[in-house]
Symmetry: C2
Subunit: 331 residues, 2 copies
Amino acid sequence: MAVTIKDVARVSGVHVSTVSRAFSATHLVNADTRARVLAAAEELGYRPNRAARALSTSRTGNLGLIVADIANPFFPPLLKAAQAQARARDYHVFIADTDEQTRVEEELVRSMAKQVDGAVLVAPRLTNRVIAELAREIPLVVVNRRLRGVSGVLMDVGAGARRAMEHLVELGHREIVVVGGPSRAWTSGEIERATEHIAQDHGILIQRVGPNPPTEEGGRAVAEEVVASGATAVLAHNDLLAFGLVRRAIELGLSVPGDLSVIGVDNSHVARYSSPALTTVDMPVAEAGRGAVDLLLRSVDAAESTGTVTLETSLVVRASTAPPVLSQKRH
Amino acid sequence: MAVTIKDVARVSGVHVSTVSRAFSATHLVNADTRARVLAAAEELGYRPNRAARALSTSRTGNLGLIVADIANPFFPPLLKAAQAQARARDYHVFIADTDEQTRVEEELVRSMAKQVDGAVLVAPRLTNRVIAELAREIPLVVVNRRLRGVSGVLMDVGAGARRAMEHLVELGHREIVVVGGPSRAWTSGEIERATEHIAQDHGILIQRVGPNPPTEEGGRAVAEEVVASGATAVLAHNDLLAFGLVRRAIELGLSVPGDLSVIGVDNSHVARYSSPALTTVDMPVAEAGRGAVDLLLRSVDAAESTGTVTLETSLVVRASTAPPVLSQKRH
DNA sequence: ATGGTGACGGCAAGCGTTTGCCCCGGGGAT
DNA sequence: ATCCCCGGGGCAAACGCTTGCCGTCACCAT
C-alpha cells in the first residue's frame, strides 16, 4: 500500500538498485537518469523506509535521549536544543523519562539500543560501571558525568558553586548550609568538593543537608532544618530545591534575602520567575544539548573517538542574596 | 556481531521460526521448547530487532509526539505523561519540536510516518485541511483541536475562560482586555468565543489585543497597550504571556493585582512560581497526554475508531486578581 | 579494426523477523 | 487396525532497502 522503491523503479523504468543509488549514492548514477527517478519519486510521494534502510546499513538515523525527569525545568531547554541539532543532521530522536529510577534508565538504553545509532544520557543516575558497560554496546555520550572512555559534556558546576560561595562570602556570610541533591548525580560531588575548598580557604563554616530529591518538595522538606541551623545563607543543589526552600522559609516567617540568602543552580526559568528572583548558577543547557548531539554523531561516524567538552558556568546574581543581618545568633 | 534470532536458534537447537514464535505467539510452541529458547535468549542477551520486526509486521512499536515548543512549560508535563503511558504499553516515543512553524510540523509528520504507528499532534498550528490530509496517511490524534474524523483530546478551555471572566466580573471588573495567543491555535478561538458570551451576558466591555506569540516576550510587548486601554483586568492566552505582562506592568509602575488583575491559562509552574502567584485556568495536561496515547493506541489496534474526549478545566484563584480600585478612569 | 577503459546500471544476496504452508507423528474415534 | 485430527515445528517467501559483483556499451588510443 505504501509506496516503495519498487514502485518508483517501475514508474521510472529502471531497476530498484538504481533508484536506491539515485538517493544515496548520487555520483553513481547518470544525471538524467537520476532526474527521472527523482521525478517519479516526487510524483508518487515516495519516502525511503528508514527501518528497511537500517536493516541493511545498520544505521537507523535515530538517537536516544534519556533524562531523569522531563518535567524538571532543567531538562526541556536541553532537550529542545538537542532535538533541534539532531533534526538539522536529519536524525530523529527518542526521548525517554526514567522517573529518576536507575533500573529504568538501564532498561531504556538496552531496549533502545537496536533502534538508535547512539544515545545521550543526561545527568545519569547510573553507576559508572553500568554506564561503561552500556557504552560498550552502543555509542553513548553523557551529560554532566565524567567517565573515562565515554564521551561527555560537562557543565562546570564546580566553578559555579565556587563563584556562588565567594559571592556569599563577599556579602559577609560565615555560616552556610549546602543543600545536596540526589547522591548519584555527578553535580552533587562537584558541588561538595567546590564548597569544601572555599570553606577551607575562607574559614567558613559549612553544614550539609541531604541527599534530597531535586524537587520543590525536597526544598520545602529541608527548610526547617536549614532555618534551625542558624546559618545565614544556603546554596541549594538546584533551583527547584532552592525555590521550595525559599517558599517554606517565608511561610516560617523569615524574609529572603533578609534573614536568609539562597542560591540555586541551573538558572532554569523558575529562578527568573520566582520572587524573589533567585541568584543562581547559570548552566549552558542549550549548548550542552547541542554539544552532546554533535559529540555523539561524531563518535557514530568516526567509530572510535571519544572526547570531553567542558562548558563554562556563571553566577547570575538576582534578588535572593544579600548581606546577613547582624542579629544575635539564633542558637 | 549483534545477537540475532539465528544465534538463539542455533544455541537452542530449533529453527528460527520457532524462536520467533516463542516470543510472539507463545501458544504455538510447546512449553518446554519455549523454555529452552528463552533460556538461550537470556544467556545470549538476545533482543528482538524492532526494525526488522517492523519490516514484516508493519508495526513499529513507536509513536510520534509533536509539539510547538518543548521549552514552553505547558508541554513538558504532557510529554512526560504521554511518554510514561507509551512506555507502559511498550512503545517508544519520538518527540519533536516544530519551533512554532507549520511547515516543520507537516514535514515532521511525513518524515516520521514510516517509523511510527501513529502520532499525536499537541496544539497543532496546522490548518484543518492539512491535518485531515495527514490523518489519512497515518493514525493521528490531536490535542486541543477539534476536527471531524480525527481523534482528539480537548481541554475545555472555553469553560475555563468563562469561569475566569465570571471571576473577574464578580470582583467588579467591567472593562477587560483579552490578550490573544497564536491565531492558528484552537484555544484562541475557544477563548474568544467564551469571552464574547460572557461579555454579552454581563454587559462587559471587552478589548482584544493580539494575536501574540505565546511567550513572556509577547506579554511584555503588549503591556503598554493593555495599560493604556484603561481596562482593570486582563485574561491572557497563557501563563507565559500573563507573566510577561505582569512583569512589564510592574516595571511601568502599576501594582498587580492592585491596579490590574491578570489571569493566565495553563496552570503551568510559572503560574505557581511567579509573584504574585497567577490566577489561572488549570489544564489537565498529564491526563491529556495519557489520554492522547490511549486514544492513539486504540485507533492503531482497531484501525477505524475515532473519538473525542473532553477534559474539564478549572479556575485556580491565586494572588493576581482582586477587585478593581475605583479611581477615575485613566482615559 | 582491435583491445582497453570507464561509466552506467542490472542482478541477486543479504539485513532480522514474521507467517502461511506443509510435514510428521501420536492419540482418539470408529 | 485404519483413519483423522491436531499439536508442534521446519521451510521459505516476503517485508523495503543497500551493495558487491558483473555485464554492456560507447569511446579512445593504438
